[in-house]
Every structure is written in C-alpha cells, then in structure tokens.
Symmetry: C2
Subunit: 429 residues, 2 copies
Amino acid sequence: MKKIKIGLLGCGTVGQGVYKLINLNKTKYVSLLEGTELEIIKILVNDIKKERKDIPLSLLTLDPYEIINNKEIDVVIEVIGGTTNAEKYITEAIKNGKHIITANKDLMATKGQNILELGNKYAKLVKYEASVAGAIPIISTIKENLVSNQITKVMGIINGTTNFILTKMFTEGKSLENVLKEAQDLGYAESDPTSDVEGLDAARKIAILASIAFNRRVTLSDVYVEGITKISVDDINYAKQFKSTIKLLGIAILKDNAIEVRVYPTLLPLSHPLAKVDNEYNAVYLEGNAFGDLTLIGKGAGGLPTASAVVADLLNIAEKINKGIIEVNNCSCYLDLEIKKIEDTCSHFYFRMVVVDKTRVLSRIADIFADNDVSIDSVIQKKLPDGKAELVILTDRVLNKDMRCARKQIENLDVVLEIKSVLNSEKEY
Amino acid sequence: MKKIKIGLLGCGTVGQGVYKLINLNKTKYVSLLEGTELEIIKILVNDIKKERKDIPLSLLTLDPYEIINNKEIDVVIEVIGGTTNAEKYITEAIKNGKHIITANKDLMATKGQNILELGNKYAKLVKYEASVAGAIPIISTIKENLVSNQITKVMGIINGTTNFILTKMFTEGKSLENVLKEAQDLGYAESDPTSDVEGLDAARKIAILASIAFNRRVTLSDVYVEGITKISVDDINYAKQFKSTIKLLGIAILKDNAIEVRVYPTLLPLSHPLAKVDNEYNAVYLEGNAFGDLTLIGKGAGGLPTASAVVADLLNIAEKINKGIIEVNNCSCYLDLEIKKIEDTCSHFYFRMVVVDKTRVLSRIADIFADNDVSIDSVIQKKLPDGKAELVILTDRVLNKDMRCARKQIENLDVVLEIKSVLNSEKEY
C-alpha cells in the first residue's frame, strides 16, 4: 500500500486531534486517495513522559530534526504555535522538500509572506486553513469557493474566549472579571488571557483574512486593535436598549480602492446574523459583489474541529502528491492597495458619559458634536445620585477623526465628569 | 491574449447574471488566470428580440448547435433548466469535448450519475455548484473543505419561496394563500408554485447534497416529500408557544450505515441556527465527526448570487485548462448504503386535533399513544365553541411507523372530530 508520510511538530490539543482524526476516518481517506494511506511517522513533543492517549511512544521525539531532516516525510504539520521555533522549523522543512500545513496564526499574520514565498521558491505547498476560526473553512471559502467575487467586507467573531465572556455578560449580567475567571476555570481562557482580551488574537486572524480577501498582504501591525477590557455590564445593558449586543469583531473593508482593517468591541443590532453567535462559537460574515452576503458559523477551537481544517489541507496535498501534480501558488497578494489609518475611517459611535445633572448640559455637548460634523442619532439620559446624570449618545456614521476631536472637547467641558466609554457600532438601529 | 471561450445555454435571470459578472470582475479574473481572459462567445436564447440589457445581439442564437458543435468553445454553461433539452445538449456537448457547468437541479437530481460518468468517460469536467442554494458554496464546502470529515447530517432551508411564505406567516400571521399571492406579486414565487410549495424543489436539492455528503447516489425518487400546503397560522402559533418556528427542511442523515433523506415542514426551536434564517434566504446546517456543526447562510437565488457559484466553477475549470491539467473525478458516490423507508425513521411529532370537550378524552388518546410506544412530551388543550376543544400534543422521539399506527387509531375514536395536522419536529424543546 502506498503511503504519504507525515511529521507532526507539536502534540497538544490540536496535534492529538490530528492524530485521532487520521485514524478515525482512515477508511474514507484511503478511498478518496485511491488506496494511498496517510501515516504520521514522527511527532515532536516537549516531554516524552506526559500521557497521550492512544499515541504510541515510539512515534514521539524531542528532536525536531528527526522530522525536518527525515527523508521519508512528505508533509510537515506544525501545531506548536509561537513564532521563533515554528518559523525556523517550517523554513528548514520547506528547504528540505516538505510540504507544510500550519495552524499558526501568530506566524502567518507576521511572517506569512516570507513563508508562502519560500514555498513557491522550493515548489512546496503551504496551507494554513486551521490558522483562522478552527473548523470554519473560511480561507478556502474566500480563496476558492467565492473566487468569482470581489469581496468587499469581512466581519468576524474570531476569538472564542472573548465571545464566551461577552455572551455571559449579555445573558447573565455578570462582570467581565467574574466571567473571565469562569472561562479560565472551564479552560476556555488562558491563565494569561492578554492576547485574547486585548484583541491581538483576533487581529492576527483578521490580518490573514484581509490578505486573502483583498489580494493585498496585511500584517498584524496594519491592524487597529482595541480589546474588550473596558466593556462594562452597563454598556451591554444600554446596547440592549438599542436592540443590540456587543461583540468583539475583526473587520476588514475594501472601499474606494483602499483597505480598512481593525478589531474592536462593536455594538451590533440583534437582527444581524453575527449577533446570535454565542459562547465559544466563531462566525464570519462576508459581503461580495456577486453573492451579496454569506455567513458561516462553527467551532473556532478544540482538538477535532481544528484537526478538521488541518486534515482537509492534508488530503488536498496528498491528492496532489498522489497525482504528481504540484501547482504551487501559495500567495495571492498581488495588489498594492492603501491601508487607511483608523482616523480616516467612518463608523457609528456610542458614547457613555457621566455629567452634572443641570440644564443646558446636553445642548453644550450637542453643540460640540455639531461643530465637529458629528450628527446624533439618539440619546438616553438617566438620573444618577448626587446631582449627576448618565448620558448615552449614538451618532450617525461619521469620520473617526471628527469623533476624536469632539471627544477631546467634550472631555474638557466642566460639566462632563467622566467619559465612561466610546464604542464603535456597526449598523443603523 | 489567451482566451477561454464559453457558450451559454440560456439567458434568463441566471444567464444574464453570468454574463454581467464575467464583465464586472474581468480584471480580477485576468490576474487570477495569469493573463487568460474568459469570453462568452455565443448565447442560446428562445427569442432574439426580447430586450437583454448590455448583451450584444451578435452573441445570441436560436440554434443550440452553434454552441454544442462550436469547435472554439471550451466550456458550456447550461442555465436553461428543465430536463429533456438540458440533458440532450449537455450529453452532446460532453461528447464534443466541452467541459460543463450546470445550475440544473432537476437534471442533477435525476440524471446526475449518467452525466457525471459521461464526463469521466470523455475526460471532461462537470461542475454544478449553482444547482443547490444559489450563492452558498455548499457543494464545494462538503466535497472539499470538509472532506476530512464523515458528514452525519445535512439539514437545509433550500427553497426560498417556501421560506418567504413561512416567514411571513410567522411574523405577520397571514394565511398561506395570502402570502403566496404576495410572493407571486413580488416575483418570489412562480405563477405555478407547485414544485416549491409541494417540496419537490427542495427534494431535488437534498438528493444532490445527500449524494455528495454520504458518497452514495441519492435521486429524487429516494426522497420522502411533504410540502407546506397544509400548514396553517394555527400551527405556527402553537409552534411559537413551544418556542419554535416552522421551516420547510431538507434533511439527510447517515446513521448506523444507512441513509435517511426527506423534505417536510418541521418545528424547529428558535435557538437553532436555522430558525432565524428568514424570507428568501437559504441556509444549510451540517454535522460531521470532526468539525461538530457548521451553518452557512446566504442567498439562494437571483442572477448575480447564482452567477457567483457558476463563475467560481468556471474559474476552477479555466485554471485547469490553463495549466493543461484535467483531473476528472466528477462523481464521488462509491458507497452502496441502504436508504431507509420513512416508516423506519425516528422523529419528534406534533399533533393538532379537534376533539369533543368532555372528560376522559385526553386519557383515551394518551392510552393509544402508549399502546403504540409513543411517549408524550407535552400537551396544550384549548377550549373551542360548541363543546369542542383543540388538543396539541408533542411526542418524544419515536419511530415513524408507531406514530402512524397511533394516528390511525386516534382518527377512529368517536371523540376525535378531526386531526388537523401532524408535523415533524427536529429537536427537544
């Protein structure tokens, strides 16, 4: 029986999922590959002794070069994460003639171009479906299934931890701190959750999706990022009054031949297809000039869901190896479009502030908005104790820099005690 | 400039959409195809004189053989619909060396196997993404992106007309007749809506999806079909009381090495990802043994949305022609699984009946259910005028044939005046 031999760099949740899946659906894969079998022959681990159910000890190694330099191995799957070692191993593996599958968003969002071009140079395939949104095949969907379109917008819930937190805050009214603790206890959040709650994880993923959608390389440093740490239950309750929820969204837009790409918590009307995507689920909403809009909802993490994406890439590569046809076209970023500064983009905004509760306060604030071309959509005013009031203002769609000017001037008003939060909002209410 | 030449059979909504899209995104396609241009050189129409915006008269022909026998043409796109002519033209075109793209669900759900095998024989590609769910790339998603999985369930809202009707009945409380008229006026429903409202259109599509998902050829005649004509606003209002909606679903299940495939109106909990897919939108919910569940929501019809699928297939074929690599593997139905009779499948059921309003009626009915191993989940009883009552009963998950026996016996009870409706229900409430 012909075999395609695989080296696995890493054996955490995803690595074990890949091992499990290849065995689970072996019969189907052999049929699809017309008799060829997929076999993992070596697995890089940190600690040989750690228990890994069903994986023979003989496959494990502490030495990456038993995989990278192994002449038998056709495909290297990298699931160790991080950038330094992953980049080194992948680079060397490509040079040694291995095709690459990686689930590494950190690497692809920063060094993606180098790696894809190296693959091209050595005629090796580099696939990375698992790097964004786990089981949702969003990269193939954009790159292949919707290739007939000019994609104009990508908007995604692409971080499960923050979606779990925001969902619990919305449904149970708990504070961010309490829900974060619960998420950590459940294993949905890391002990150091910075990369998730500060929006960096989502930023890496939207950089990858923007690159594919717009055929223009976008890296992490191109993405404007705000996390969810400042969101309070008060904001969520006001969002409800506007028939909206708050979600951490990665957003990429192509407009007037320029790209906008950002991650921030956003008020989203409950009628939007992403608004009801709850807990640890991920989802991506797309707009294109032929299909209109399309939404994909699925599992963004976990061993088998992520393995679903890794092994789909593997079967695709295996089919090509089998037929002796390797068409290498790893990178499709052939355009050089401007990436707009956040100040030059437009959005609706939500302002929440504590003011002195006396006459003419609202009109002074409204005047400042008007002076800066920021028109107001709606206002909620609520009495607080001690002669204070809370003012919540939604703006129409306005230029970010106009909003910033208005914000600065409002902050300096003597009657404004504190601006509690300023959030983006995706749509008309 | 190298060209790939296309013949278009049909120039209705979809045909015009294809023509428009190829021109709209010409620059992108030329880049993707490394300089090769896509050109429609001939279009089959019924009536030359009918106005078609932006399409030069010189392209139009009344003679299909100007396309089928045209030596210049590489790819034939069939969007005339129906089966007789479409089958004849496609068959002849394949024999004349053309690759085929079709949006024809009627044809693919009945003669799919013949056509795909003929393509294999002549080494010609046959692609049909547009035949199911318009712009939603559900065929590629199952066949390629999720190929690493054993798909276990496909459940779809795959008929826009009936979804529009059921949505309006749900949101506006209008009768089926009134909404159908409205849908016809808006152009969402045909003047003869039989194929839509009787579930046949959805049945064709679920046959196609089941074939792909389970690698077993399923044709229209294998599908158990019930339409929506018996659904009343009363049923929809009771569904609401059970926190559910009613949707016409195409359902295909793989269980214990056998396939179940059916179309019927179904009570679906409002928390299900398909429950809020409204109006003319289509959606497909999938379950698989690695990704868990995945839902795709998008436009199921219309010129450009359907063209999105047609032209994605076209670009895929064009790339292969360009590279001189035609790997023909049109049909993936290599398994021979049993298809279960509807009587042998399980479901929850919803019964609505008018009974004589006196003591022991409910207990007599409950006894019949119990005698037939049908356990009851919940009951609503409502007083009607003239000494009658309406009884709504939800069952647990039971065997269809047990439900049928119970139904027959209940129908024969002297105290049961009429069984108004019996519907399937997809999940626990």
